[in-house]
Symmetry: C2
Amino acid sequence: MKSIIIASTSTLHEGSYLEYLLPTLQSHFKDCKSILFIPYARPSGISHEDYTRKVSEAFASINISVKGIHEFEDAGDAIKNAKGIFTGGGNTFLLVTQLYKHNVMQILAETVKNGTPYLGTSAGSNICSLSMQTTNDMPIIYPPSFQTLGLIPFNLNPHYLDPDTQSKHMGETRETRIKEFHAFNAIPVLGLREGSWLEVKGNKITLKGNLSARLFLQNETPQELKTESDLSALK
Amino acid sequence: MKSIIIASTSTLHEGSYLEYLLPTLQSHFKDCKSILFIPYARPSGISHEDYTRKVSEAFASINISVKGIHEFEDAGDAIKNAKGIFTGGGNTFLLVTQLYKHNVMQILAETVKNGTPYLGTSAGSNICSLSMQTTNDMPIIYPPSFQTLGLIPFNLNPHYLDPDTQSKHMGETRETRIKEFHAFNAIPVLGLREGSWLEVKGNKITLKGNLSARLFLQNETPQELKTESDLSALK
């Protein structure tokens, strides 16, 4: 049975890394003494080693040890044998490129579908979607495909940001960008604000956290979904 | 001799479409009674026809008529025969996909290098770079390559936005995203604020408009370049 936490962000303003999620993670990873960390997204270009160290420090507070996928000889075996898996944020183009390069995109999807508890934040959440096509990230590297894990039957926009009505900036709002996506794609897009996450238990998908989320359907006016909404029927 | 205007944005806050650039365009396109418009980037998913109509209205005020590339049977011939060319903003992934699909990426580069006056705004400016890898746009479609026209020997980030020090948002700043690009690429990136443009005359590249621009070099502290800076040596 799938058991997945898909978080908009790892860190809230004035909070420390993963802090707001720790109570949830303690229960999510309750059967794990150690988890596998996938640091491929490298936020700000941080090394795999430094990123894994940062994650280890956060998980130490709930008595879970962390090993980076780069420490294993075979990335596919590391995923198959993991008790729990966390993919951190950073650049989604880089993350997806690395998952394909190491031939683990499909293995990761199958492993999580078979029940290994998974946590994604930001880029690590984007890849739970059908495709990475609603990421906010810069295309710093050319991935072999935009298709991702498909753990949920729709797309996500993490770090969803409402239009700033005071802004004089003329660059596209997030809502405009998603509208452009829907000119070519019929997939629903869920704008997940910082502090929100999805809990996936088997086929049940529930919106968690204190905030509402913004749902974009092709050719429809966007709608606000309250926390605890059941998204299982969305596709 | 190359004659190119590469603008951060088509529109300033509280201005109308292309308004702030019209005096510059009047002189830039002084030998053109009509120009070719490339509407492929389709902002907000607008149709080629509607986008071309909007551009025609703006150019009418300086007595230049506009024809959209989609109105021609052969896109390559349309480019080769054009007296002047304008590529408008929108989604860079879509624009690049369409330029490759219509087999005109190379023809457009050669035509502009041979002296046909060119104007780009936003996405139409991004493609003047070596690659589209420092765009802000969403990857709504998978282009066959990220390589672009290479009319200038560096990359651009149009609509460059300074970090908002009041923001509680934890998504990456523009500067962080460019830093991630530089973890894998040595190409200089020029952050071009809204209201700035580059004027390219032959091999001379000059920063225009009232604002400074922010230059990012790999492994160096970003620097501010004053308006009228000569960027000809940048590569």
